[in-house]
Symmetry: C2
Subunit: 229 residues, 2 copies
C-alpha cells in the first residue's frame, strides 16, 4: 500500500483569521478538500491519513462526508510541531502493508495527480524522492550581511511536497530526529542526514503553499484565470 | 549624482502578447511608469536613464511626457542581452559626477522609494549592495537528479533589484564581463567575481519581477487587494 500523510495541523496564525488556513475556501471549496481530491484522483495512492489539530477533527469528518472521499482511513491529532505531526501520521500507518509514504502539506492544493504519481514511483525505485520546482530568482548565500556565494541557479531546486519515502526509511529518519525542533520542516532533510540519497522529480511552480492572506489572493487569481488549472 | 539605470529592453517573448511586458498596464498605468515613479519619489536618486529596445523609444518618450517624469535624462537603446543593455546604460552615465549607480529591472514596479534609498545608501558606504528578500522554500542543491546539499534557509536570500554599486566598481566589473552571455542576469555576480564584498539590504517579497502572464494576474491581485500597497 502507498499511503499519503496529509499534514494539516497548522493553526494558521499567520493568516490573521479565526479559521486554520486549510479550511479557508478557494472557489467555494475548502483548501484541504482540493488537496485531498488530488490524492483521491491518483491511482497509485491507496490510503490517505490526515493529521489535524484535535479540535478540528469532528468538523473535518463531517466535511469529508460531504465530499465522499474514498481513500481517507484515519484522522489523527497533530503534534506541537510539523515534525511531530508527521510522526503521529507515520505511527498510524499499518507497518505490515506499507510501501511508499507520501508526505504532503494540506495547504498545497494545486498539486496534480500526475505529480504525486511520478514522485511515488521515483520513491518506489530509489526509496526517497522529492517533488521540486525550478528556482527562478538568483539565490545568494549570506554571512553577516555580506554575500559569500552565488550558487549556479541551474543546480538549485525548491523543495515542494509530496516528499515520498519507503516506510522503513522514513520511520528510521524520524526515530533519529528531534521532532520538537520547530525548524524541522523538511522531511527530506531528515533522510539526507542518514546519508541516504534522495531523488528529485521535476514539478510545477503552481504547487504553492498557502500560508498568508496574500497567498489566498494569488490562489484565487490562479483559479479564476484558469492559468494553473 | 546617484543615477538609476532602468533596464527595460526585454521583448517579453514569455508574455505571449504583442507588447513588451514593461508596457502592459497595471491598474491602468504601464508597468514601466509604476517603476519609474518609485525612483522619482526617492530623493537619493538624482537622475534616471532608461534602457529600451530601439523600436520602443519614440513611444516611450511620448508616454513619459504624459506622466511628467522629472529625473529622466536619457533613453538609450538596449543590447542583445540584459548585460549588454546595462552596459549601454552605464556608458551613458557622466563619469565625472557619477557616484552610486542603481541598476533596476523595469518590470519590478513594486519596489518602494525606501528600499531604493536604503540600497543606494548601503552602496555609498560599501561600494556594492543588493536588495534581497527571504527565501521561504527549502532550497536543494542538485547534481544528476540527486539532492547533494540542503543549505540552511536562514543563510539564503533571493536577489532582487535595485542592485547598487559605485560607478567605478561597476564599470570595472562590466569591462571584465562577457556581456553577450545570456546567462549573466545578475550584476552583483560580476562584482563578486572581482573579489569585492557585496552587502545585502533586506527588502520585501512584494518586489516581484513581472515576466509571465501569471505574474500579471498576481500583480493585479496585489494591487486590487491593497495587500502590498
Amino acid at each position: 500500500m502507498n499511503v499519503a500523510i496529509i499534514v494539516a495541523a497548522g493553526q494558521g496564525t499567520r493568516m490573521g483569521g479565526e479559521r486554520a488556513k486549510q479550511f479557508l475556501e478557494l472557489a467555494g471549496i475548502p483548501i484541504i478538500i482540493h488537496t485531498l481530491r488530488a490524492f483521491e484522483r491518483c491511482a497509485i495512492i491507496q490510503e490517505i491519513i490526515v493529521v489535524l489539530a484535535a479540535a478540528e477533527a469532528a468538523g473535518f469528518l463531517s466535511l469529508a462526508g460531504q465530499y465522499s472521499l474514498q481513500k481517507l482511513t484515519k484522522v489523527v491529532p497533530g503534534g506541537a510541531t510539523r515534525s511531530e505531526s508527521v510522526l503521529h501520521g507515520l505511527k498510524a500507518v499499518r507497518a505490515a502493508t506499507a510501501e511508499v509514504i507520501a508526505v504532503h502539506d494540506g495547504v498545497r492544493p494545486f498539486v496534480t495527480a500526475d505529480e504525486i504519481a511520478r514522485t511515488v514511483a521515483a520513491a518506489a525505485m530509489h526509496e526517497a524522492a522529492v517533488l521540486v520546482a525550478p528556482v527562478t530568482d538568483t539565490v545568494k548565500e549570506v554571512v553577516d550581511d555580506r554575500i559569500v556565494r552565488t550558487p549556479d541557479r541551474r543546480s538549485l531546486r525548491r523543495a515542494l511536497t509530496p516528499q515520498c519515502f519507503s516506510y522503513a526509511l522514513l520511520r528510521r529518519a524520524y526515530e533519529e530526529a528531534d521532532v520538537l525542533d520547530p525548524e524541522l520542516t523538511d522531511d527530506s532533510a531528515l533522510v539526507e542526514r542518514l546519508g541516504h540519497s534522495v531523488a528529485i522529480v521535476e514539478g510545477n511552480s503552481r504547487n504553492i503553499k498557502i500560508t498568508t492572506p496574500q497567498d489566498i489572493v494569488i490562489a484565487e487569481a490562479m483559479i479564476k484565470e484558469g492559468l494553473w488549472s
